[in-house]
Subunit: 213 residues, 2 copies
DNA sequence: CCGATAATGTACGAACTAGTACGTTCACGG
DNA sequence: CCGTGAACGTACTAGTTCGTACATTATCGG
């Protein structure tokens, strides 16, 4: 009767079970926060049981840290896409801004996890070891581009890579993280598709106008 | 023996008890989040008992809403300080940016409450009635200043008051709300007093350079 | 001065929640 | 083909947490 030959149909699959738990936990933590998330609820939405969460991750906190690590490592790949070599500084910066804008919009769960983690003073992130190497890819290309623009006399002299990164992040993060209170108070949906291109362009202008003033 | 004549020495004081609970609850909710905050913990830090929380507020959720309402109403007074009449548009905007910057830095609890409320999709704010009249004071003066700058040909034509407000808020909020993960990843303390003036000036430049590009 | 009511304190319960003890089933090597 | 360990499921517990029933004290009008 049973023909379990195919690897894909394996009833017991370490990788699949782990990935399943992690995916469900990501949504649950992003949605309810660390304290608000319920281990029983995560287990219920999984195709396995609560026992497996403790079997594979150890506990609620370690599961949450694993979720954070996965979310952050997915981000690492972003800034590498910046084409430092072949674009002039202004175009490269506009491209970085647009890339970051798109990336944030595509990963609302990540933004929420970062907000949640900040509520908890980044205490879980501090326990993790994913930090090493996270800063570099985000800033390496940016520093090069800024230096090229400065050398060409097009960018202001006091432009700091981390400051520019902060402005871009602030714009993109705020738009997602604070959209609910913003909507409640001002009645404007910052994620309205009709305004998307406007904001995307605005961020580029904001950065370039500041650098070239 | 007892000489309870003086109003200040009253053993039973409705106002004082209420205010005490609210102050303690504000710190507790801002620190731990809505789900993370414990009613028993709030009661313990109060000079009264848990019974009074339910007597005056009804429950945890209503207490949290009361905290939100008080925090937001304290903000209302801010934007009124903008001197629309006697400053030229650029100075007025720089002043608004600096005012907002200072205000956010002075009220970290408020920023945290807003972050927390956004995690919960602003569902509590929606239940409140403080919303009416919150948007106007924030934007009224700004709209006037922008229009004056536009009329004088100094500001770009497509400048929208709400967009400018968003940029200023994004900068100030991000600096406080995300300082822990930012610090953990990039090793920079965005609240370092040594960098305060730099960021304060930078925000003004950012806004003005965008508007006058 | 006294009764009514607002304000406060104590002790407790019902429901929830993270975590675990214990038992079971599958897969793979020999 | 079978034994051993990895992977998985069930049922339970200890502790927590919101909320409340009930008792008590202060204050103020008459």
């Amino acid at each position: 009767m049973a023909a379990p030959a195919s690897e894909a149909e394996r009833q017991r699959d370490k990788e699949r079970t782990r990935a399943d738990i992690l995916a469900v936990a990501t949504r649950e933590f992003a949605d309810k926060g660390y304290t608000g998330a319920r281990v029983d609820e995560i287990a219920a939405r999984t195709s396995t049981t609560k026992r497996m969460i403790y079997y594979y991750f150890g506990g609620k906190e370690q599961l949450y840290i694993a979720v954070l690590e996965q979310a952050y490592s997915a981000i690492r790949t972003l800034e590498r896409q910046l084409d430092v070599e072949h674009l002039d500084p202004e175009d490269a910066l506009r491209r970085l801004a647009a890339l970051t804008f798109d990336h944030h919009e595509a990963h609302p769960d990540f933004i929420r996890l970062v907000s949640i983690e900040n509520i908890h003073h980044a205490q879980h992130l501090a326990q993790s070891e994913i930090l090493a190497g996270l800063a570099d890819p985000a800033l390496g290309g940016l520093a090069v581009v800024l230096e090229r623009g400065r050398a060409a006399g097009r960018f202001r002299a006091d432009a700091d890579p981390l400051d520019i990164h902060m402005v871009i992040s602030a714009f993109c993060v705020f738009r997602l993280a604070n959209r609910h209170t913003f909507q409640a108070i001002f009645g404007r949906d910052m994620l309205d598709p009709a305004r998307r291109e406007h904001y995307r362009t605005m961020l580029g202008d904001l950065v370039i106008d500041y650098l070239t003033a």
